[in-house]
Amino acid sequence: MSTIQRDMSLTGQPPKALNSVQKIATVIGLAGLAIITLAGFNVDFPNKTLWLTISLLAITFGIILFARGAYQGQIEGIKNHGVWFKSISNRGFWGWVAGIALTGFYIILYFFAEYLGLNSDGENTGIIALFDPLSRLLSGNPASQWFVYGTLYTIAIFAFGIKFIWKYRHNRYEKIRTVSVMFFQTAFAFLIPEFMARLNSDSFNLPYYDLKNIWPLNYYNFEQYRVDSFISSGEVGLAFLIFGIVSIFVITPILTYKYGKRWYCSWVCGCGGLAETAGDPFRHLSDKSMNAWKIERWVIHSVLVFVVVMTTAVISTYLGYDPNKYWLTKDVFLIGVGVFLTVLFAAIWYFKREELEKDARYGAIGYLVIIIALLGLHFSGQGNVFIFEAESLRKSYGFLIGAVFSGVIGTGFYPIFGSRVWCRFGCPMAAILGLQQRLFSKFRITTNGGQCISCGNCSTYCEMGIDVRAYAQKGENIVRASCVGCGICSAVCPRGVLKLENGPMEGRIEGNDVLLGNDVDLMSLVNNK
């Protein structure tokens, strides 16, 4: 509307304006960040423990105070007031500033860690040195850039998690789910691996292992150095290795069958955890167009194929040829992968062919042919598995997908593309869970008869860019591969139309397919397809 102020200031009129509590909170939080930034410019803080404590507390407290300013004294309920007016959340000036700052941080983190103070030989300096006291406290070792990142990441999920809970305090599903992601991040991703590092010695050397970080999201889990250290660490190490395999092949399918992919993506996963908490103010920026959906399907499944090829190639490089030394030889492994993929493909084709769209069929056939052909080339005497050298595959995956896609684009661009770009377009774990959710799961979002008024709140606030309304207004259930089950569509619906449910497989997709309230005879005519 023309009369709305388009200025870049943080003031302006309600609901755009920040109140005084929020302004104070912003100053406190930014002051905490400023300490870290100053350390980055090699300002030498005399008492690092003290300054790090001040900094981290200021950031945490600033975020929590900001939430208090936003929600304290408000009657509980959906209060997305001014979301599209505020420049931070409508791709305005502050949105771009935040996006560029975050992106810059990720580029430095992944590619120029020396600017954070990482020294390959000698003491840390700068930001990383500032975090040394905390790292020594937890694991006994000096900090690394990943420790700095992990600490800030955990604080973000924790503090913005409190904000999220405050915002949705009327909604028990959201509260419980958020406590869950806060717990898994703090315990599994942050504290437990640090404590595990304390147990390491010359004879016992577990790799850094976030147990909830499952392959293929954790694309390096089966690389040689990790498998070697698992095996060298005796029964405990072996148990971890087996847990890693069981996670993806047993636990994941069972839980996804019962609850949909949400058990992982919006209850456990760290990427999801950040998106649901720190990313929540940007969830509405996801692209809802049909085109975006088409691109999503091709890109995410291509990443999945990439990670399967890459992992197969990497594992095969360290497997030997002699079956007497170890039963799992290179050939057994490669044939096994080929057989597994073919059987999986055949099963989907046989049981679920009717449910596959045309492009899904083309994609599935195309990729299967490619993988089998690459395997075949190996046995026809080609030296490298899959033509490409495993190491260069691994490196390019790590660079393109692991760093650029999931970090720089996925998180750095929160304020521009929304909070789930990585989860939607890139994450191979989400791709696997999504395939299963679409084809073999009890989860769906149920539409409540004919109550939809097509208002669009559900679609707007879907972080995965699902046009929820398109289904709801037809009275159809929503069964989409990408749905992470965050529950916000149901929360923002003003008419109580949507409900996340686990129910019988039968009739799951079509739902009622009847817009109730109408004449029964007419409905049979309308639905006569």
């Binding site: 509307m1 009129q13 028990r172 097509s454 669009g456 709140n457 109580g496 004449d519």
Partner: protein, 432 residues
């Protein structure tokens, strides 16, 4: 090829167009003076509140219309010449039709109040009303106080909207309690308290006497009938209901009452002209329904029905069990079947309210048979499908209360209140 022309691109007209396309290959044109594309009228409030932008309220992407060969024309129809089946546009130009569907919706009621046409006085129905509101009440500096006249669904939405911009609101309600013409007193009073909790200055049993102008012809104050009090304000929202938007049909030969008179087939007295949605008026009310139903859902159902008739399968408009929904600030409301403000003859109400004063239900029962007639539910979501089935099966209220948990539609992990409700119901039955 037969040319179907639809005037109005709201839910009724668009439903008709979509279903005609599903059933046939006819040429379809939708005419609207309001917007280029269909949007959800019920979502207008969220644009002002900053929850959504206009583009998000469009249920179909813009390519949808050409893909489905539905032509869109932006124009205002000023006159219909049914003799030669011709429409005249306000900016000149004409269009011929073979069959015409009138789906022009409503306009806000004005009851002849002095000053009702001043600047700064407006209703809230159309996209243009929303643009007007952005001019009249962009923020609390320009609009130091707003007065809303009319305690119904649009009035409370307008109050919620203005509240998000911290604009002080005085809310004049004619009835002794909010929407008490429709809601039973227990529910209505709960909503009164909820409105006041949002710091809205709610004035019950209060009518507007007149709106006073300033020297520039803008509203500067209102006078309240009962007290004579003069209230300074910069915006007067007229939300005392809506009536059919049919002024352009006056001399068309189409029979008009309050709305366009239609039979059960949604046909007007003129051949090949139909009317649906808010602007249509049934000759005889259908069951307990009003002859004019200005509701999203009934508009959609009439659109679906008229599409069948136009495509050669002439059928009556036969709505099923009544249902509706709304949201009052933070409290959601759903209704299934019939619950009237006062129990009618041979009817009795069971009312349960949660102690937190944001959740309650009212069940209407036929006294002689114990039959379940309908339910109002506030703050607890319930399943449409289940109540539709129970109404068809003519279940007793006893049965409904006993099985209420089957109808629960609240999100997972929500607290359930069915056992409380059951206990209260049995308590009441024992006492009675």
């Amino acid at each position: 090829m037969e040319h179907i022309v639809i005037i109005g691109n709201g839910i009724s007209g668009v439903s008709a167009a979509r279903h005609i396309r599903k059933l046939s290959d006819k040429k379809i044109t939708i005419i609207s003076a309001e917007t280029d594309h269909f949007f959800s009228r019920t979502a207008l409030m969220y644009i002002y509140m900053g929850h959504m932008k206009y583009e998000h309220t469009k249920p179909y992407e813009d390519y949808f219309w050409s893909k489905n060969r539905i032509e869109l024309k932006r124009a205002y129809v000023s006159k219909i010449n049914s003799g030669n089946k011709e429409l005249h546009f306000a900016d000149g130009g004409t269009m011929n039709y073979d069959k015409l569907i009138i789906a022009t919706g409503s306009k806000p009621n004005k009851f002849g109040w002095p000053g009702q046409d001043l600047d700064g006085v407006q209703g809230l129905y159309s996209f243009q009303d929303l643009e007007q509101l952005e001019k009249n009440a962009p923020n609390k500096e320009v609009c130091k106080r707003a007065v809303i006249v009319g305690g119904g669904l649009i009035g409370i939405e307008l109050a919620e909207m203005l509240h998000t911009r911290n604009i002080p609101v005085t809310f004049l309600v004619r009835e002794s309690s909010f929407w008490h013409g429709v809601l039973p007193i227990g529910e209505s009073e709960m909503i009164n308290r909820h409105i006041k909790n949002h710091h809205i200055d709610l004035r019950l049993s209060s009518n507007l006497k007149e709106i006073l102008p300033d020297e520039n012809g803008r509203a500067r104050a209102v006078i309240i009938q009962e007290t004579g009090e003069e209230l300074a304000c910069d915006l007067v929202g007229l939300t005392a209901g809506v009536s059919p938007n049919i002024d352009f049909l006056k001399d068309s030969g189409i029979e008009l009452g309050r709305g366009v008179k239609v039979n059960r087939f949604l046909e007007t007295n003129v051949n090949d002209i139909y009317a649906i949605g808010d602007c249509a008026e049934q000759h005889e009310p259908i069951g307990n329904r009003r002859p004019i139903e200005a509701v999203w859902y009934t508009g959609r159902m009439m659109g679906e029905t008229v599409a069948q008739t136009i495509c050669g399968n002439r059928i009556e408009y036969k709505p099923g069990h009544w249902f509706n929904s709304a949201k009052f600030f933070d409290i959601e409301y759903q209704t299934y079947g019939w619950v009237f403000a006062q129990p009618r003859e041979n009817e009795t109400h069971f009312h349960w309210k949660h102690e937190d004063d944001t959740k309650c239900i009212t069940i209407n029962t036929e006294i002689s048979t114990g039959k379940f007639l309908g339910i109002n539910t506030f703050g607890i979501r319930m399943r449409h499908e289940v109540f539709d089935r129970w109404l068809t099966e003519e279940r007793s209220t006893e049965y409904v209360v006993e099985h209420l948990v089957e109808a629960n539609f609240d999100p997972e992990f929500y607290k359930k209140f069915e056992s409380q409700i059951k206990a209260a119901f049995h308590q009441q039955t024992v006492n009675a």
